[in-house]
């Protein structure tokens, strides 16, 4: 007798199937998008939620963590929008152009869409999906493509976000700030998707902040596709300051063109469980990327930074530096993989992960990987895990600095080393201030 192998579905997977069945007709998109959604959902149901036996999700067992899938968040009420006005405060001093996404929906009335610089186009993702925007058909789902169940689920259920286009050669002076906020006090889920296309020789500073209430168990699945054109430059900062009970799963896909520059920084302080995965593809010769991250975690927070750098073109340079400071029973995961494809000669890639444990119950897991299929490359990786240096602490105390203040100074220094390289003084200041408030 041949029994068909049919893996058991979890409650969350069954709930997701119901949610998709109920929502697929009203989710935004023309026929092509609807077909893309259905295909994605079928793929998702085949694999299910990623779990610990999927190597890329080894340390963040989403199937075990997501006991339930929450219903899609309701469109934002006037009250929700009122809360959103003060969101993204950590970066307010940068006088950036704010694009506000409330409970997964782009709020044009809260966003700064007037007097866009010449060559800058911004619209809502939902609108772009419905109207058959040329950028959508050209790029969506095609940037650094990845077979990943959380991303597939995002493609099936993506609601809103922004689509940004920067014309060739345009330097956008004001940073664009994507302000994501969840306001619901009931368990709710949002699926956000954004696409940012920076054409050749254009410059853009892109900021993202995520936040929400501490009391609510909301779930965020967000994805960003980013194209950095030839000789273009993108500085990207993401601050994850979600509420204490939130689940934040994020995928960032980036294609980097010839001689382009890409600086990325992810700063995590919030959320119960955070999975932030970056897939960066070096497509054009001589591209340079500097990818950094800092996670400051306490309580029982779980923060997973996963990075795959795909060196496809020759002569590209990548630097990856990730640090975490862990108190109480917090856990940080760093998975970093550098793939050097055949033909990507003269690749220069270096990756470093450091964890600072403030408590004996904290845990850091680090998995660096190199896969090299070219013979003329320089690649390296390293990782360290340790506690505060007692000798340094004593030195500070011997000068009159109390223990707690001495520890705070050393932690700031540990974080400062990663922040130091940021060119934008305002961003640097914001991150050091955020570090200070975490220390309090």
């Amino acid at each position: 007798m041949n029994a068909e192998v049919r893996p058991m579905k979890t409650n969350a997977e069954l709930a997701l199937a119901d949610i998709f069945a109920g929502a697929k007709r009203r989710l935004p998109g023309n026929d092509a998008v609807k077909a893309q959604r259905s295909g994605a959902f079928d793929d998702f149901m085949k694999s299910g939620l990623p779990h610990r036996r999927v190597e890329a999700w080894k340390y963040t067992d989403l199937r075990a963590i997501m006991r339930d899938a929450h219903p899609l968040a309701a469109p934002p009420s006037a009250e929700a929008k009122a809360k959103a006005r003060s969101a993204g405060r950590a970066l307010a001093h940068l006088r950036s152009r704010r694009m506000v996404i409330v409970d997964g929906a782009f709020a044009a009335d809260l966003s700064d869409l007037v007097d866009l610089e010449a060559g800058v186009a911004i619209r809502s993702m939902a609108e772009a999906l419905t109207s058959g925007d040329a950028l959508i058909s050209a790029y969506l789902g095609k940037v650094a493509p990845r077979d990943d169940a959380s991303l597939t689920l995002n493609t099936a259920l993506m609601g809103d976000g922004v689509v940004i286009h920067i014309a060739p050669g345009v330097t956008v002076e004001r940073p664009i700030h994507l302000v994501f906020i969840s306001t619901s006090d009931k368990p709710a889920a949002v699926f956000e998707r954004s696409l940012v296309v920076v054409e050749p020789r254009a410059h853009l500073t892109l900021l993202e902040t995520y936040e929400g209430p501490d009391e609510s168990q909301y779930q965020v699945n967000t994805a960003l596709e980013l194209i950095v054109g030839d000789a273009a430059r993108v500085d990207h900062l993401k601050m994850i300051a979600e509420g204490r009970a939130a689940l934040h799963v994020a995928t960032q896909l980036a294609d980097i063109g010839q001689s382009a520059t890409f600086n990325d920084f992810c700063f995590t302080t919030g959320g119960a469980v955070v999975r932030n995965q970056l897939f960066v593809r070096f497509k054009g010769q001589g591209a340079v990327a500097d990818i950094r991250g800092v996670s400051l975690l306490a309580g029982r927070q779980h923060g997973d930074q996963t990075l795959v750098a795909d060196h496809v073109a020759p002569g590209c340079e990548s630097r990856e530096t990730f640090k975490s400071v862990l108190d109480d029973e917090a856990r940080a995961v760093f998975q970093g993989k550098i793939n050097v494809h055949p033909g990507a000669q003269q690749t220069n890639a270096r990756m470093m992960a450091r964890a600072l444990l403030l408590s004996s119950d904290a845990e850091a897991d680090c998995k660096p990987e190199l896969e090299i299929f070219a013979d003329d490359v320089q690649c390296g990786h390293g990782s360290t895990t340790g506690k505060l240096n007692d000798e340094q602490k004593f030195y500070l105390m011997a000068r009159g600095i109390p223990a707690r203040e001495a520890e705070a100074l050393l932690i700031q220094a540990f974080v400062g080393e990663v922040v130091e390289a940021i060119k934008n003084e305002g961003v640097k200041e914001a991150l050091m201030n955020a570090t200070l408030s975490w220390l309090r």
């Binding site: 030195y395 011997a398 000068r399 220094a413």
Partner: protein, 252 residues
Amino acid sequence: MTALLEIRNLHAEIDGQKILNGLDLVVNKGEIHAIMGPNGAGKSTLSYVLAGKPGYEVTAGEALLNNVNIFEMSPDERAAKGLFLAFQYPLEIPGVATMTFLRTAVNAQRKKRGEEELSSPELIKRVREIAMKLGIDTEMLRRPVNVGFSGGEKKRNETLQMVLLQPTLCVLDETDSGLDIDALKVVANGVNQLRSPDRGMVVITHYQRLLDHIVPDVVHVLSAGRIARTGGKALALELEAMGYAQYQGEAA
């Protein structure tokens, strides 16, 4: 004469190993005491025990600074009380700007003493004045604490901190080790600037050389964890000529 520091019957150990064995020492206000002795006599241990370094356990005795037992205080409280240890090996602290460090230290001490905190411009002014007086390159102040400093630069930085913090008791732990003559003069200059009737100094050194520049009132020989001999500055010259051989036996 008023005693500034009184150490009585001090016993101390590290990891169960006895290093100090009933050390007595009285430093009066206005005096400079040199403590000399062979390697392993307990010179650095004495300085760490006074400053309160974790891992150094006082098993008996007391140390009174202005009549208050400092062994009951944390290292930062001792510093606020006026104790300053110039480290033999000053620590490098990457990521902490020298100015931030100095400001935090000065203001932490002032706060603990109930004094008003110094503003950044006021502090920068003071630091620059001291640096100029000591002949310290202000470029050093722009770097993180001691990072990439040569041995001499580190000791200059210690001296600058000492002059800035205006302690009542300075303990210099082998400050001359690894110093060229120019750096030695900077350090001596700093110490001599601080000489005052209210202040006391304990200069720990293996060699007589530093004492040409910082002239002590009293010289002690430390051996096997206690003071073996006390004399005037001539004792330092005698030790330089004769070596520590006669005290080594005792140490072993």
